[in-house]
């Protein structure tokens, strides 16, 4: 611990501090992240720049190492918790400064499935990437998903299942949306340990995302396409 005290964040220049914050996110150090955010803001950084260059860039490294089997759930939860500390400071400032909107996602684990670790990670990483996230928690029925999509005027629906017994329920949700003629109004991303790309396609989702980092990249990609389509139309 005594060695850690040797790094004094306020004495680092902007570039060093940003890199140190990437390290501190990786190590899941919430207090240090909060301190770093305050320092950058004090130095006159726009909230959006703090978000993207210090936090999102740092979480991207965490996401990649999670994807590559280098970090596992405990480390990522710690990192996400540190990120949350930084976001808590930035959120009101981002709203006030009219930072660009990435899109809005409604996310939840399907009916019967209690596992929400993966879903929480996706939610946190999406927030970390600047998306608005409405988390419906676990055990969601078709109606709960549909009501939330409508109420929140969301762009993206994220569904998660971790059990063989619950994954077919995703298809129930998508089929119901198709029946109501609203399927194409939303980008539908699915994920969870027993799923794969083929399964995602077979149930009619837009994409299967194998982890939180891929979910963020996929969501960005689809939002860009959606904007391009709107611009072209």
């Amino acid at each position: 611990m005594s060695d850690e005290d040797e790094i004094i964040l306020d004495e680092l220049n902007d570039e060093e501090l940003t890199l140190q914050m990437h390290d501190d996110l990786y190590d899941g150090m919430k207090d240090e992240i909060e301190e770093g955010v305050h320092i950058l803001l004090k130095r006159g950084w726009e909230p959006y720049r703090v978000l993207t260059e210090a936090l999102v860039a740092g979480m991207t490294i965490v996401g990649h190492d999670f994807r590559d089997g280098i970090l596992f759930v405990p480390e990522v939860l710690l990192a996400a918790n540190a990120m949350k500390g930084g976001m808590f400071i930035l959120k009101p400032l981002l709203v006030a400064s009219g930072a660009p909107r990435m899109g809005k996602m409604v996310i939840g684990t399907v009916k019967g499935d209690i596992h929400d670790i993966g879903k929480n990670l996706v939610g946190m990483m999406m927030e970390g990437a600047g998306f608005e996230v409405v988390d419906l928690g676990i055990n969601n029925s078709v109606d709960e998903y549909l009501d939330a999509l409508k109420k929140e005027d969301a762009d993206i629906l994220g569904m998660s299942a971790l059990l063989t017994t619950t994954m077919p329920y995703m298809k129930v949700v998508i089929d119901t949306m198709a029946e109501k003629g609203i399927r194409d109004d939303f980008i539908i991303l699915v994920g969870g340990a027993p799923l794969n790309e083929e399964f995602g396609k077979a149930i009619g989702a837009d994409a299967y995302c194998r982890d939180a980092a891929v979910a963020v990249e996929t969501a960005k990609d689809f939002m860009l396409r959606k904007h391009n389509q709107l611009a072209a139309g």
């Binding site: 850690e4 390290d23 089997g69 055990n139 994954m167 077919p168 027993p194």
Partner: protein, 348 residues
């Protein structure tokens, strides 16, 4: 000394230890969820409710495993703990639904013409343990203990915790089983780059198991991402030099969605090869997990009976027979990609 004799007596009087003493290998059962879906279980519903609502289907499930040649089957109580049943408003029924699951199992096992072990299935709570999550050790023990008592009342021969990711949860289950004074087995699910979701390697699991005060009769791996990965995990256990019986319960291939149903792509022939390779790797209790149907079990039994135990296979041989691995390393070979060197940690 008297105490020791008593302990030893108790160990040998449970049906599983007796069977292990007499046999070189034991065929466990296959899938519960996949089989129940085929009987009309709706996705999202609690399979455990069928113990009381449609006991005839649960009896059929157990009977199908026995008829296919299983020596041991797991009860329909995987999600029968209070934390899981809460989703269905049935958290107060954990003990009852677990008891009935075991009673139905007892009925099938006692009527069978040969010895059958009834293993009381205990699945994960689904919660993250403290300090990262909200579930305290004390509460986890309480939840597992309640289910353990139900399974014991219903006549389970052993308790069987499965699909665990966190060592803390495995240890909490062990403590609960000691409170219920029941022999037990426990498997973890190695589904993330050869490790559990929480990053536990096969070697770390052996280390954890041997430190438990009331260690399991057998330990091992279930579910995960396919038969090849599962066997690599078994080789990882064996490399630690453990003498404890090893359990291999792999999925029958990879899930696919066909005509409105989940279908696993592993054929009975392939599962037969998997069963023999699992035995060659060093597993003594061999079964399937998701997607493993009675026809797979028949093929596995036939393969185990008609083939001699062979030499321990290499990873290449496993990949050749069952397909490649989901990751280059499982974290036990020294070749896993290393974590980023952060400045604070490098100094510390």
């Amino acid at each position: 000394m008297a105490h020791f004799v008593l302990q030893k007596e108790k160990i040998m009087t449970n049906a599983l230890s007796k069977m292990l003493a007499e046999r070189d290998w034991i065929l466990a059962d296959g899938a519960t969820g996949t089989n129940l879906f085929n009987m009309g279980l709706s996705s999202g519903d609690a399979p455990e409710m069928w113990n009381v609502e449609k006991p005839e289907n649960i009896l059929k499930l157990y009977q199908s495993a026995v008829d296919a040649g299983s020596d041991l089957f797991l009860t329909n109580s995987f999600g029968g703990n209070a934390a899981r049943l809460k989703l269905h408003g049935a958290e107060k029924r954990a003990r009852e639904l677990s008891r009935v699951a075991a009673e139905l199992g007892r009925e099938v096992a006692d009527a069978a013409p040969r010895d059958i072990v009834v293993a009381g299935s205990v699945g994960p709570t689904g919660e993250i343990m403290a300090p990262m999550g909200n579930l305290t050790h004390e509460l986890a023990v309480e939840i597992f203990h309640e289910q353990a008592e139900g399974l014991k009342e219903g006549g389970a021969d052993v308790l069987w915790v499965e699909t665990i990711s966190a060592p803390e949860e495995y240890i909490a289950a062990a403590e609960a089983f000691a409170l219920a004074d029941m022999p037990w087995c426990g498997t973890m699910s190695f589904d993330t780059a050869g490790r559990t979701m929480m990053g536990i390697t096969s070697a770390q699991m052996v280390d954890m198991v041997e430190k438990i005060k009331n260690p399991p009769i057998g330990f091992g791996a279930n579910c995960g991402v396919g038969a090849s990965d599962l066997l690599r995990t078994i080789l990882g256990f064996v490399a630690q030099g453990t003498e404890r019986p090893i359990i291999a319960k792999g999925n029958a291939g990879i899930p696919k969605y066909v005509h409105g149903h989940i279908h696993y792509d592993g054929t009975p022939e392939l599962m037969g090869e998997y069963a023999c390779l699992a035995r060659d790797c060093g597993a003594t209790i061999i079964g399937g997990c998701c997607g493993t149907m009675p026809e797979h079990l028949v093929a596995m039994r036939a393969a185990l009976e008609t083939h001699e135990k062979g030499d321990r296979p290499s990873l290449e041989k496993i990949a050749e027979t069952l397909g490649g691995f989901s990751s280059a390393s499982d974290g036990t070979d020294g070749n896993a990609p290393a974590q980023r060197k952060t400045r604070r940690r490098t100094r510390g």
